[in-house]
């Protein structure tokens, strides 16, 4: 029955998402989430014998492993050097700004879920906050032929900030999982150290194996096998699967050197499939009661994240020497939040002691994702227009 439901979620989700986008102009993720809601255990899912959503756990873990691999392999050390301090500085500012703003705001609000200490809850929410959705930014840049310093900075930032977000998430989960801040050091060292070692060695081995295969069709099973193996090992040995998969991607890229796309393109092609699953799964977990009970928390998270991204990103860019049109507008381009954040929230559902909090966080991220999707593109366009980088408007043309 699970396989039947996955098929339905993928096909119907794509259909509803595409129709909504085409006919009503709403982002596709809205359709994905609504479709997921329709198949929740209380509705159609119940008729299909799906009384719980436990069965989604291994799928979410592996799917996040796939995304982490792609994120880890996105950048080479040479590119990181060439990106320039202004982009790296702005990214560090953006990520730390979102994290600290959400952490502080949730602590001040003092609202948590019954079975979780406030500091743990605030840390976990803060760890999800830095993730952004590149798709919305790329779409606006493409549609309006945007070009200039801010455009370059935004594209660079959203390409690397999820890597920092995953690193922070892994560190936070290791800290929270140890039960206390005092006892966290040993857990963090093990979780991070083992992830670095396994991901690094795995990347070396798989890259060397890949040299034996000249046919493109042989690479995908090998890469997926590596991701499955690493995620499975992490579950068995108790280290961070997300971090290990990300290091695996980085290590494959590092050892492959130039012409690495053959080891990433096949997996990148799976990204949209993974995000359709994530958004529809989030819909399965949608609980109106949680949204009503925790609306102040959602509002605070949304506002604090936006402020943190804006202030942190702007400050980071300014300190790194970016000109005023860039640092004063960079925050507008960072609001969209999407698949990675939803995936991290879904992962929380299966952490020991997090089932109730995970449910609240999934609903919170789902709701705020819908909000950021609604205003994200408008915000990106506004920032680029203020910086004078909308190419079509400069040329007096009109976007289609």
């Amino acid at each position: 029955m699970e396989i039947l439901l996955i098929g339905m979620l993928l096909l119907a989700g794509l259909a509803v998402g595409s129709l909504g986008s085409h006919l009503l102009g709403v982002p596709r993720v809205v359709g994905y989430i609504l479709l997921g809601m329709l198949f929740a255990p209380d509705l159609l899912g119940g008729y299909l014998g799906m009384d719980s959503t436990e069965w989604t756990q291994p799928l979410v873990s592996v799917a996040l492993g796939v995304i982490a691999y792609v994120i880890g392999g996105a950048i080479s050390p040479g590119q990181l050097r060439r990106l320039g301090w202004s982009i790296v500085g702005a990214t560090l500012g953006e990520v730390s700004g979102a994290f600290l703003a959400v952490f502080g705001a949730v602590l001040l609000l003092g609202m948590t879920v019954a079975d979780l200490p406030l500091w743990s809850f605030a840390l976990v929410l803060a760890a999800v906050a830095p993730a952004t959705a590149p798709a919305a930014i790329v779409a606006v840049v493409h549609q309006y032929r945007a070009r200039g310093q801010l455009t370059t900075m935004l594209l660079g930032m959203v390409a690397i900030d999820d890597a920092l977000g995953i690193l922070i998430f892994a560190l936070v989960m290791a800290t929270v999982g140890s039960g206390s801040l005092g006892g966290a050091l040993g857990t963090v060292v093990w979780e991070v150290g083992a992830a670095l070692l396994v991901g690094g060695v795995g990347g070396f081995v798989v890259e060397r194996l890949s040299r034996r295969f000249h046919e493109q069709s042989m690479l995908l099973p090998m890469l997926l096998g590596g991701i499955f193996l690493i995620v499975g090992l992490a579950g068995w040995a108790g280290f961070s699967a997300l971090l290990a998969a990300m290091v695996f991607g980085f290590s494959v890229r590092w050892f492959c050197g130039p012409h690495a796309e053959r080891l990433f393109e096949p997996v990148e092609d799976l990204e949209e499939t993974v995000f359709v699953l994530f958004f529809t799964f989030a819909g399965l977990h949608f609980n109106p009661a949680a949204v009503i009970d925790y609306w102040p928390l959602m509002l605070v998270y949304f506002a604090a994240r936006a402020a943190g991204l804006f202030v942190g990103g702007g400050t980071g860019a300014r300190l790194a020497g970016a000109p005023k049109p860039v640092w004063s507008n960079v925050g507008f381009g960072l609001f969209p939040q999407g698949g990675v954040a939803i995936g991290l929230a879904l992962l929380l559902l299966h952490y020991p002691g997090f089932s109730r909090a995970g449910e609240v966080i999934v609903n919170l991220i789902t709701t705020t994702t819908l909000l950021t999707e609604a205003v994200g593109a408008i915000s990106v366009r506004y920032g680029l227009r203020r910086a004078g980088e909308l190419g079509l408007e400069r040329a007096g043309g009109e976007a289609k």
């Binding site: 950048i75 080479s76 590149p134 032929r145 594209l155 390409a159 690397i160 130039p258 990148e268």
Partner: protein, 146 residues
């Protein structure tokens, strides 16, 4: 047919560019030789160290017109490096004393159009074009590739 003999009948020099050249320089070199679809990257001594296909080159240079990007493509767009960061180091090359039919299919499986021919020092001495091989295969004459 020996590759040396093939090159005598179908002389194609091929296009090379130094490893630290920009992608724009590589494109200019390739566009100056319309009969070639692949470019070979050389070190300071002129030895071939990598291969770059036209589609890959075009894909990066025209990336601003792509409606969607993976993160990897976004970084290629904003932090573009020299030509050696895009080349394939593990290309297959032919030698002058080999037979054409021995190297043809390994190359076709790699989905490249031209077959580079290197001397003993690894320098490019010529290129076998797939288009010439197909022409020879469909024209019954003494230009057998077997």
């Amino acid at each position: 047919m020996k590759i040396a003999d093939w090159l005598e009948q179908h002389p194609v020099n091929g296009v090379t560019v130094e490893r630290d050249a920009s992608l724009e320089e590589a494109a200019e070199a390739l566009l100056a030789e319309p009969e070639c679809r692949d470019i070979y990257v050389t070190d300071a001594e002129g030895r071939v160290v990598g291969h770059l296909g036209f589609r890959r080159l075009a894909g990066v240079l025209l990336s601003a017109h792509r409606p969607t990007h993976s993160r990897r493509q976004m970084l290629e767009r904003v932090a573009r490096g020299p030509v050696h960061e895009f080349m394939d180091r593990r290309f297959i090359a032919a030698r002058l004393d080999e037979n054409v039919h021995q190297v043809l299919h390994p190359h076709m499986e790699r989905r490249v159009e031209d077959i580079p021919v290197l001397d003993a020092d690894g320098r490019l001495v010529g290129v076998i074009r797939l288009v010439d091989l197909v022409r020879a295969a469909i024209e019954p004459s003494d230009q057998s590739i077997g």
